[in-house]
């Protein structure tokens, strides 16, 4: 089923969440990040940080905590089992720290097809802010495989 290009420009409801210290330590352990500034308050402080820094890709994990994140696809009639993460970009504007309340605002940037519609791509950008300070922009590309198209 072709994805309606009219969704370009549409926005998902904003949501806010807190980067918790314990969760950051768990992520740090799970990814083998052994630099102590990411898990030890004293080491972070000695390096000039006011709390544990949020590691570069962790913002993507917080974005996934959106309480309604599945509805974007289901509203488009897309089966989650037919999608793959094709690409991911992070642009960093300011450092986020444990304890920060971060707000995520997502917009559809582009929709396009390849292979006669057998592969459809959706590009979404998420702007992350702390109060009014821009923290990062996350751009995610997913590919939807339509087994019935292009045959």
């Amino acid at each position: 089923m072709p994805i309606d290009p009219a969704i370009v420009g549409s926005r998902s409801p904003e949501f806010s969440t807190v980067a918790e210290r314990g969760r950051l330590r768990f992520f740090t352990a799970a990814t083998g990040q052994n630099d102590p500034i990411y898990s030890d308050m004293e080491a972070a402080g000695s390096a000039g940080h006011r709390d544990l820094p949020v590691p570069p890709t962790f913002l993507f994990c917080l974005e996934m905590d959106h309480p309604d994140r599945g509805s974007f696809l289901t509203d488009l009639g897309i089966d989650q089992r037919t999608i793959l993460h094709a690409g991911q970009k992070f642009e960093f504007h300011d450092q986020a720290y444990a304890g920060d309340t971060l707000t995520f605002s997502t917009e559809v940037k582009d929709v396009y097809a390849k292979k006669s519609g057998a592969l459809e791509f959706i590009v979404r950008a998420t702007h992350v802010t702390r109060d009014t300070t821009p923290i990062a922009t996350l751009t995610s590309t997913i590919v939807v495989r339509d087994p019935k198209a292009g045959q």
Binding site: T31, P55, F60, D65, G87, K89, F90
Partner: protein, 133 residues
């Protein structure tokens, strides 16, 4: 302080991505997609076995960068996912400085499996060194 010049290269050998690593990353990241943690669920839809989260490999690339320069020097990082990472594989992350311009270094990034398969390919921009103010 680390300065970056064209041709500089850094590698990071990831740990073996065992089922335990995938379970811990699923918990920490919040990505509980069963294709990464549940072999029974995989086989029910015709997938032989679990495979790693693409974002786990990107997290290792993040580590490669933060091992190289302080995080505040990373301006951007992007990847395309080109192949899956099977469970129990040991990927290698490589970053190479492709060029330096206006104080910014462009890095080419890859994650490869021991058999040569490229699983992620991307780029990052970091400040080449701190401003001398």
């Amino acid at each position: 302080m680390t300065t970056l010049e064209p041709g500089d290269t850094l590698t990071l050998e990831c740990p073996k991505i065992t089922r335990t690593v995938l379970a811990l990353y699923a918990g920490a990241s919040g990505d509980h997609n069963p294709v990464h943690i549940d072999t029974d669920a995989c086989q029910a839809v015709g997938i032989d076995d679990v495979f790693a989260h693409g974002m786990l490999s990107m997290a290792y690339l993040g580590r490669l960068l933060t091992d190289w320069v302080p995080q505040e020097r990373i301006k951007s990082c992007e990847v395309r996912f080109s192949a899956i990472t099977p469970v129990n594989s040991t990927p290698i992350c490589t970053g190479t400085v492709a060029g330096v311009e206006n104080g910014l270094a462009r890095l080419d990034l890859t994650v490869t499996l021991p058999d040569g398969t490229v699983t992620l390919r991307g780029a990052a921009v970091v400040t080449a060194n701190l401003p001398t103010t």
